[in-house]
């Protein structure tokens, strides 16, 4: 094995890129869960976003419009979940699982005819001055814009939850929906908005795969990234900055295992491939998970 062939700068740089799809999906789910809703349909919303983004980007030849389309597609799919769980009071776990299966099938249907099609290119940004800093520059400041959009959403979510009145209301709804309702807050409206935000973020994460990471459309291309996003929300104890850490950890192990393989590591390919998932499980077990939002997963009806 020749470890010297692994360039740490490039490794850290591609870690940020590899983590971005999971980061986007997870930050959306974090807001949903802080509002007291458990949406297990992240995978389905991601893959729907991936195909919607791809279709729009190919039709308009603009990746930016593609990402917009992905966010809208993911949000629309999440509305189905919102309607079923918030207004018809269906079971959130079952509905979320159904949403994943539905999304996988729907995306395969929409994607017919887009297999093997080339996506418009989405060039990296080379940020002047900052990009020239040795070591740090190539790692942090020479990526495509969506990497920074992802980071901005994390920062924005943190500020929103911690410092704004609306964030306080959202947390109140998640902690105790009866009390929030008694105070006069509109629980269903807050939750529906949170669910749509989660859907839009998952859609962006999926589109990052189909427009930047690969960039092509294939059925089932998210390959379980949505489930990892769900695990990372728990790992992060529902806190935005720890979520960033979790996504980078998973992305890092993913990139590292491929690098080790290419460097000729004498470890079985099967073990390397399972490493990112094992690492996630191990961290979930070792880290003491924080307290979940009080009303997480419970249906709310004003008459009760």
């Amino acid at each position: 094995m020749d470890l010297s062939s692994i360039n740490p700068i490039l490794l850290l740089a591609s870690l940020m890129v590899a983590a971005t799809p999971i980061l986007l999906a997870a930050i959306g789910e974090l807001v949903v869960e802080r509002a007291g809703v458990l949406n297990l349909g992240v995978e389905g919303m991601m893959i729907t976003g991936a195909v919607c983004g791809f279709v729009v980007a190919v039709a308009t030849n603009s990746p930016w419009l593609g990402f917009l389309g992905a966010a809208v597609g993911g949000a629309l799919l999440s509305l189905i979940f919102g309607f079923l769980t918030q207004f018809l009071l269906s079971n959130q776990v079952a509905t979320g699982l159904a949403l994943t299966l539905f999304g996988l099938g729907l995306s395969a249907l929409i994607g017919q005819g887009y297999i093997g099609v080339k996506a418009p290119s989405f060039p990296d940004w080379y940020i002047p001055l900052l990009g020239d800093i040795p070591f740090v520059g190539p790692i942090v400041f020479q990526h495509d814009p969506m990497v920074y959009v992802g980071l901005a959403i994390v920062a924005g979510t943190w500020g929103y939850l911690k410092y704004t009145r609306a964030g306080l209301i959202l947390r109140a709804v998640g902690e105790n929906h009866e009390a929030a309702h008694a105070l006069g807050y509109h629980v269903l409206r807050v939750r529906m908005l949170a669910i749509m935000f989660g859907g839009a973020c998952a859609g962006l994460g999926g589109a990052y795969l189909s427009l930047v990471r690969v960039p092509q459309w294939t059925e089932g291309m998210t390959a379980g990234a949505g489930w990892i996003a769900l695990a990372i929300v728990v790992f992060a104890s529902w806190r935005p900055w720890r979520l960033l850490l979790g996504a980078y950890l998973f992305g890092g192990v993913t990139v590292l295992q491929l690098n080790l393989q290419a460097a000729g590591a004498a470890i079985g390919v099967e073990y390397l491939s399972m490493a990112p998932y094992l690492a996630t499980i191990a961290v979930l077990v070792i880290m003491r998970a924080g307290r979940a939002p009080g009303s997480l997963g419970q249906s709310f009806h004003a008459s009760r």
Binding site: S5, I6, N7, L10, L11, S14, A18, G113, I115, G116, V117, K118, S121, L209, R213, V214, P215, Q216, T218, E219, M221, A223, T254, V255, L258, N259, Q261, A262, A263, G264, A266, G268, V269, E270, S273
Partner: protein, 359 residues
Amino acid sequence: MTIKTLLASATLALGLATGATADANDPTKVGFIYVGPVGDGGWTYEHNQGRLAVEEYFGDAVETVFVESVPEGPDAERVMTQMALQGADLIFTTSFGYMDQTIAVAEKFPDVKFEHATGYKRAENVSTYSARFYEGRAVQGHIAGQMTESNVIGYIASFPIPEVIRGINSAYLHAKAVNPDVEFKIVWAYTWFDPAKEAEAANVLIEQGADVILQHTDSTAPQAAAQAAGNVVTFGQASDMAEFAPYPRVSSIIDDWAPYYIARTQAVIDGTWESTDTWDGIGPGMVGIGEISDAVPADVKASAEALIERLRTGEYQPFTGPINKQDGSVWLAEGEVADDGTLAGMNFYVEGIVGDIPQ
């Protein structure tokens, strides 16, 4: 309706369907099972081109059906059975991983002819066919060895089966012949078609200094990754992938199945079909080399074309001694040519390749 009547009507319908196909005036039905989508731009795309050629050649005399993205394994058996029940006379199963399923289904339908691509198990009604892709890999290695400046060539391998290992060995030997310092980095993707995995593998290889990427997977994702990187050379796999020419794609291996598919369909119509084992290369035209683009220097292009010509005429075999195995033991002595049996079951690297073949 009770289950009994349902079953009875289903059997009746089935009987009618099979009875109808026995009619001599009916078109011959040819089925194809694909491992990827027909739009993959690589392996399955070319098989589908062969199917379309069959339709064009025979017109109304032949009807073709296909099922795409069939997973290798038990699911394939279900699809094949379905196809045979629907009256197919000839079924092409176009991936290595369908081997055992093809044999199993063929046993149940002795009147249906089966053709399995790249496998080695035959039966009374099962033929095998493959192309000597390793002849094309020799040309790739020859060009790659001279195009690389970092002397690192990345190889995206699919599954550790003889066909893939043959390709790695052939490419390595011919790259080494023109560039003694060349080094191969191999990533096993464990898939024939998964653009996400293929793109990841290509990116990692590029990050580790590879400036030539060879792929034994079917999508164009590695080509896109190379294009994004800007200074990496690739080769079309199974299909020309000309949309990435002249750079990064500088040449390609093209599988041309059409003549074989037409000949075998004709044999079924004539009633002369027999179980055979076909393994053709550049000479008979089953393996084509896509145009070498202008990104390749003129002298390299000329010597590559000379190599293609020597392979075409059969004057030169890619595996001609002296060649040692990876452990240094002698495989082929000076001037000795590998026999087809050893090639078909190749499970070792040649001397100079670093790493182990996954078991």
